[in-house]
Structures are given as C-alpha cells and as structure tokens.
Amino acid sequence: MNKVCQSVADAVSDIQDGNTLIVGGFGLCGIPEKSIEALQERGVNDLTVVSNNCGIDDFGLGLLLANKQIKKMVASYVGENKIFEQQFLSGELDVELTPQGTLAERIRAGGAGIPGFYTATGVGTPIADGKETKEFNGKTYLLEEGIVGDFALVKAWKADTLGNLTYRKTARNFNPLVAMAGKITIAEVEEIVEAGELNPEDIHTPGIYVQRVVKGMDYEKRIERLTVTNA
C-alpha cells in the first residue's frame, strides 16, 4: 500500500462539503499550512473544524474563515482573529469553546475508541451547562465526549513511506492526537524517507493511524510572536 501522495492537492481532493476536519497545531506552530492552502483553493464549504486555534486573518485556518468555508469551529482559544470575531458576532459561524486539555483528551479519546470520559475541568462554569456530572470519591466530574473526524490534517517533521511520523520540538502539540482521530488522516511533512530510515524508537505517531503522506514545499512556518533577547 503506497501512502505517498504526489501533491497536497491530490491528498485533500476527496474532502467534501460538510465534512468534519480535525486539524493539528498550536497557534501557527505545527499547523498543516499546505493542506489548509489546498482546501482554500478547492473551496469546499460548510466545514466543521476542530482545532485548538483558528489561525490569524491571513494565515492558517484564518484563510478558510476569510473564504467563509467554515460553518462551525470547535476550539479553546480564538483571540487572534478579527474575521472570526465578525463572523461569530453576525451569527455566520457557530463556535463551541472547549477547555484546551479537554479538547486534547476528546480528540485522543475519539482516536482511541473511547466515546466519553469524566474530568474535573469546567465543573461549576458555563461549559458545564447541559453536561452530565458524576461523583467519584466525593468530587464532581463532567462527562465529555470523544471526537472523531471525517479527515484529520496533521503536520509532522518527517514521515517514512509507511506513514510513521516524527515531530519537531513544540510543533508536536495536538498533531499526534489529531492523527489518531481521523477516519482518513493526511500528514504533510517536510521530508519523506524510506521505511526503515526512521529509528523505531523515535516514531511519535505509528503509521497505522496515517492513510496519506505528502511532502509540502517551501514551508513558511510563520512566527506569531517573535520574542528575542539581545546577545
């Protein structure tokens, strides 16, 4: 089975209107920037997107927002995006805010075949509204549900031809969880090597989760907040 796609456009060619996409990344770090650009070019609409953030106005998932391709966003923090604000206030965009750890675990659980789990996060807050609670050892917990997507879009550093993935530094973030939670998982990477060239000890995402691998060209890897010290 050959998982390697010839172009990013090929890799995302069967994503349909109305699909649920789970997308890796934190801020602009470790986002599948090439797959997002390809979806912007294809113009699929009414997407439900599950991702920690929603990019910025002119990069990352913000591109799909600007194009009005997203119907619903599930995220933990969306504060960096003016277009998001406008579409949310006008009612064009449906938003489900989920605490970051709960979001990560919902995606992990979805990929691991766990339909729900209990967490203390959010008890007594607005996000508990309408959710079942249960006491364990005298403490109250909320029931949260796992998430599965029609497609998962991840960005890794390197892949081999079997879809084994390794990530670099904090660009790992949500990506390994997202990779588990797609019915079809598409990994865009900076380099594809032959099976056997990655040390099995260093593989973060086993290829069993990954259906397609594609090499992205000319990564921009935009920095959201450049902070430096002077030598």
Binding site: F26, G101, T102, T119, T125, N230
Partner: protein, 213 residues
C-alpha cells in the same frame, strides 16, 4: 513595569520553591519567570508541550517550531522534554504540576475565579486555564486589587462567568495576600506601606485577618 506589577511579581516569585514544576499563565504571570533565583532547579511547563522553558532566544536563533503557550519564541533549559497536548494536560489534570500562577479578573471569597470572558464582549476562549485551575496542586492568582474605576476585584461572589469553582489557594494583589481555607478567606499579608484598614476599605469580599497582622 508599573509599580503595582512589580509589587505583585516580586511577591509571586516567593511562591516558587526549589525543585518545583510550575506553570505560569500568559501576561503578568510570565514575568515571574525572570525573578526565579538562578540557583533554583525549577522546570516551567508550557501547555503546548514543553517542560523546561528557557529564556527568549538570541536574535537570529529563533525557531518557529519552539514556542510557549503565549505563542512567543523561546528556548529550552537542560533537562527539558517535549510531549503532545494530551500528555501535557495529563500532567496538569493528574496533579503533577506543583504550582500554577494565573492572572485574574475577579476572585470571590470562596475561592471562585473568573478570568476568561466578559459577557457582551467578544469571547476569545479559556485556553488551558480551566484545566490548570482544576488540576494543579496549588493555584495562585495574581491581579490588581481594584479595577481602573477603583472597584474591588476581590468579590463576595464573582459577577463574571467562572473559570473554576473554589479553586484558588492564594491570591496576591498589589495590596495584600489572601489564603482560601476551610474557615474562609484570610488576609495573611499586606504589601509594604498598606494597612489592614486600607485593605478592608478596598475589598468587597468578607475575610478574617491572620493573627499578628
């Protein structure tokens, strides 16, 4: 930095003990990192998947793949580790983080915290704050004692939507330090030059005063 901020940050750093694993929230809490004694072995956690945050990089050596939860470019310290977001919150939710220092909009006398949304204003999201207050072993909130209109942010009950219910262990403001105990809220310190009466005057919440103050 404003004087009030310096007072708060200098006091907040005293919460950090040698050997701790600590999560510092975005904004004023991030400034606490610069004040940690250099001979302490403290690992700072970043929710996006790093234990062992280092200083900002030297100009030109920044790496787009290495950021903190505030999306700033950073470095790592010796002994640091990278992991995914589920593992990061397993650390937080599982009680492995010794201390979280977070900013606040309102704190109530029962230890409720509100710091993520203002009704009528655009909702940006809670990020990892709800997980941190529910999971960290100890939660310290740092904030100005009063808002820009001079109104107490230390409330009988929070008026804003909660981030967590009865989750705050200690509150540090520019005027005072309070602990939240089974016996209620206790004033344990006043800032230099501030009297107990002044704290009472500027505080909506009901509290007792620790012995010896």
């Amino acid at each position: 930095m404003k004087d009030a901020r310096i007072t708060i940050v200098k006091r907040a750093v005293q919460e950090i003990k040698d050997g701790m694993n600590v999560n510092l929230g975005i904004g004023m809490p991030t400034l606490v990192a610069n004040e940690i004694p250099t001979d302490f072995n403290v690992l700072l956690q970043s929710e996006n998947g790093l234990l062992g945050i280092g200083p900002y990089p030297i100009a030109g050596q920044e790496d787009a793949d290495l950021i903190n939860a505030g999306k700033e470019t950073i470095t790592t310290v010796p002994g640091s580790s990278f992991f995914d977001s589920a593992e990061s919150f397993a650390m937080i939710r599982g009680g492995h983080i010794d201390l979280a220092i977070l900013g606040g909009m309102e704190v109530a006398e029962n230890g409720d915290l509100a710091n993520w949304m203002i009704p009528g204003k655009v909702v940006k999201g809670m990020g990892g704050a709800m997980d941190l207050v529910a999971g960290a072993k100890r939660v310290v909130v740092i904030m100005d004692h009063v808002n820009k209109h001079g109104i107490s942010k230390v409330k009988k009950m929070c008026t804003l939507p909660l981030t967590g219910k009865a989750v705050v262990h200690r509150l540090i403001t520019d005027m005072a330090v309070f602990d939240f105990t089974d016996q209620g809220m206790v004033l344990v310190e006043t800032a230099s030059g501030v009297t107990v009466d002044e704290v009472k005057e500027k505080t909506e919440a009901t509290f007792t005063v620790a012995k010896g103050l």
